[in-house]
Subunit: 365 residues, 2 copies
DNA sequence: TCGTTGAATGCACACGTGTGCACAACGAAT
DNA sequence: ATTCGTTGTGCACACGTGTGCATTCAACGA
C-alpha cells in the first residue's frame, strides 16, 4: 500500500523498520497483496538474492536454507513473476507460433504436437494468427515486443528484412513446411520429393494410364514440389506415350474444394483420370466422396486416389485413404529441438532439414 | 555497451555527456542494440515521458511533437517493450487459453474463432494445455505468473481455491461449456437442454420407436445434460409404453469410438435402436459410417442419427448430418466481450449465460 | 507590468526480478 | 596466531516502461 521505499540496503541490522506495516505480518493477513520475493526474504530472514537463487536452484546455496526458503515460499504462496524475470533477463520463455487459422487438418495435428513439445521443454506457446499475409511483417515484429525466446512459422513467408531483425536480436526462427530460406533460420520440411515419387511409382506399378495431380489454385510451396516431383518421375513413361498426365486445380483448399473438383474432372467417363495424386489429404477426401457417392465410381478400380499427410480422417473407416505419411510428432520434436539448441547458444549454420515420408497403402489405391 | 548509467535526471542541460558513445549517433550505426524509448527521446530532443505518452496517444501531448516523435520512432525502428510495459502496469495483454489438446473438432472451431476475437481486441492468446486434469491447478496458477489479463477455460474444471486466487488478483475467468460454477467467473454454455428437447421432438414426430442416446464413457458435463434433457422429454411417451429408450456408451470420444459403438449396438436387427441422438458430432459420424458401410443399414430409414455441434465435417457431402447447431462465433464473441468488460473494470455479477441452438435437418434424420 | 490560467513537458519514482562482486565466517595449513 | 581457500549471503545495481506531480512557458486580462 504505502510506498514501501525500503531498498535492499536498509535491512542490514534494522529489520523492524523496513516494514512499516509490521503489524499485519501474520501469514497471509493482507489479502489483496501479491507476494513477492521480498516478502519471502523477509519471512525467512534472508536477502532477496538468496530467495532468487533458491528458486532458480543455484548450487551455491546451502541445502538447509534452500529447503527452508522453499517451504516458506510455498507456505506464502509465492510464485516467481515471469514478467519481471523476463524483463531482467531480456528474454521470456514464450515461443511465438505464427499460423493462419485452424482449418488445415494436418497443421492442427502438428500444432497439437508442437504445443505439447513446447510445454514439455518449459516454454509457453504464444499464438499469433496471420490470416492476412500483408500483416505478416507487422505480426512478427510485434512478436518481438514480447521478448519471445523463439518463433515457429507454420504459415506465410517472412521477408528477409524480418529475418535480419530476428538475427540482430539473436531470436531463433524455424520455418516449417515453408518455402522461404531465411538467413539464420532453420527450415524443416518433409520429403515432398520422395512423396511425389512414391505416388508415381505406385500408380505406375498398378498399371494406371491417365494420371493426374490435384493442386490448390495458386499452389502452395509444398504442393508445387509434390506435383513437380510426381510428374518428373512420370517423365520417361510420358515420353513413350504409354500414359497421359494432367494437372487439376481446385478452388478452395478444403474438403469442399476437393469435392467440387471431383464432380468437375471425374464426370467424363472416358477421358477422366484413373489415378489422382492430391496435394493434401482433406482435398483427397472430398474428391473421394464425389467419386464414390455422387458419380458412383468404384475406388480404386475406376479411379485411384492417393493423398498426402495421413491426417486422422484418412485412417477412418469411411475413407481408408492411401496416402503419403509425414509425422507431425517428428516434425514438432525436431522443431523444438532446433529452437532449444539455438536458444541455448549453440551456433548451427542455417540448414534445410528434411524428414522422411512413406506410403501408407490402404483402400483407395 | 558500457553501463550507461544515465538516469533520467541528468540530461537537463548537459546532453552530450549522457551518451558516452556519442560518436556513433548516426541513424542505426550500433546494430546490436535494441532501441528503447530513451533512444527515441534522445533523438527527438524530448524526455522519455513524452515519448511514452506519444506512443500511448496521450491527448495532453501537442500534435506537432506527437507527429515528430512518432516519425522518429518509426525511423529508428522503435517498438514498445511489452514486457517492461506489463511489468510496470502489473498487467499484460495476454489472455490465457486453457485447453486440452486439439482433437475435439468443435473445440478447434471455437478456438479458431476465439483466437481471432482475442487478437482483434488487441490481446494475445497464451495457450496452455492441460491433458492431465491433475495439473489443472498448477497450470492456472502458472498462468498467473504471466500477469494475464484474463483466462478462458475450455477444458477441465478449476477448483474453487483457484477461483479465489484469480478473484484476489482481479483477473477475470470465463468457463466455456463447463460444469463448475466458479465464484466471480462467467460461465457460458450453449442451450444443451433445448438441444436435447429438439432431438427428442424430431424423433417422436418421425415416428421412431426405439430411441437411444450415445454418450462418452464417464460422460462429460455437456453430454450428460443433453442426454438428461432428451430422455426427460421422452418421459410421457415412455410411460405409455409406446416407445423404448436406452443409453449407449462409447469408449473413446472420437470418430473411432462412435464407429465401434455403431458396430456394437446396431448389429442386432430387431432390438437395435432406430434413432440415435449422439452427444457429439464426430461420434455421430463414426456411428453413421458403421451403420451405412459396415452394416449396410439405410439412413435414416433403418436408423436415424442426430448429432450435436454442427461441426464442418457434418456439412460435408459424405455425411449431411442432421444435428443441433451451436455457433462457435457467438460463443467466442460473447467470451471476449465478457472478458473485455471485466478487464475494463465493469463489475458484473457472476452469471450463467446461455446461447441459443437450433436443429439443422439434413439427411440422417 | 504583473498575476493568472492553461497547456505542454520533464522529473523522479516504482514495478519485481537476476547477478557480478564483495564480504563474512570458518576450517585448515603453516 | 596468521594466512589462505572455500562456502554461503548480501549489496547494489540494471532491465524499460508508465505516471503523479512539479515545472516551464506563452498567452491573456487587469
Amino acid at each position: 500500500m504505502g510506498d514501501q521505499r525500503a531498498k535492499d540496503g536498509k535491512n542490514t541490522a534494522s529489520d523492524a523498520r523496513t516494514k512499516p506495516d509490521a503489524t499485519m505480518s501474520g501469514a497471509d493477513a493482507m489479502s489483496s497483496h501479491v507476494v513477492t520475493s521480498a516478502d519471502v526474504a523477509h519471512a525467512a530472514g534472508v536477502s532477496r538474492s538468496t530467495v532468487s537463487r533458491c528458486m532458480a536452484g543455484d548450487p551455491r546455496i546451502s541445502e538447509a536454507t534452500r529447503e527452508r526458503v522453499q517451504s516458506i515460499a510455498a507456505e506464502l504462496g509465492y510464485h516467481v513473476n515471469k514478467i519481471a524475470s523476463s524483463m531482467n533477463r531480456r528474454k521470456s520463455d514464450l515461443i511465438g507460433l505464427v499460423t493462419s487459422g485452424l482449418s488445415d487438418p494436418f497443421r492442427i495435428e502438428f500444432l497439437d504436437c508442437l504445443i505439447g513439445e513446447i510445454q514439455q521443454s518449459g516454454y509457453r506457446p504464444l499464438v499469433i494468427d496471420v490470416s492476412d499475409p500483408a500483416q505478416m511483417g507487422r505480426s512478427m515484429l510485434n512478436l518481438l515486443q514480447y521478448q519471445v525466446a523463439g518463433v515457429v512459422v507454420t504459415s506465410g513467408s517472412p521477408s528477409p528484412e524480418i529475418g535480419t531483425h530476428y538475427l540482430r536480436r539473436n531470436v531463433p526462427v524455424v520455418l516449417v513446411n515453408r518455402a522461404g530460406r531465411l538467413e539464420g533460420a532453420d527450415v524443416i520440411n518433409c520429403d515432398n520429393v520422395l512423396g511425389g515419387q512414391l505416388a508415381a511409382d505406385y500408380f505406375l506399378a498398378a498399371g494406371k494410364k491417365r494420371l493426374a495431380f490435384l493442386n490448390v489454385r495458386g499452389g502452395t510451396y509444398s504442393g508445387n514440389v509434390r506435383g513437380e516431383s510426381f510428374v518428373s518421375r512420370l517423365a520417361p513413361h510420358l515420353a513413350s506415350g504409354q500414359i497421359s498426365f494432367r494437372t487439376l486445380v481446385c478452388d478452395s483448399a478444403d474438403y469442399d474444394g476437393g469435392f467440387a473438383a471431383g464432380l468437375k474432372y471425374l464426370v467424363e467417363r472416358e477421358n477422366a483420370p484413373d489415378a489422382v495424386f492430391c496435394a493434401k489429404d482433406h482435398i483427397a477426401l472430398g474428391l473421394l466422396d464425389a467419386a464414390r457417392f455422387e458419380l458412383g465410381l468404384k475406388v480404386p478400380d475406376d479411379v485411384s486416389v492417393i493423398g498426402f499427410d495421413d491426417i486422422v480422417a484418412a485412417r477412418q473407416g469411411a475413407y481408408q485413404l492411401t496416402t503419403v505419411r509425414q509425422s507431425p510428432q517428428s516434425l514438432a520434436r525436431m522443431t523444438v529441438d532446433r529452437l532449444h539448441r539455438r536458444i541455448g547458444g549453440e551456433s548451427l549454420g542455417d540448414e534445410r532439414l528434411i524428414l522422411p515420408v512413406d506410403l501408407v497403402v490402404r483402400k483407395t489405391a
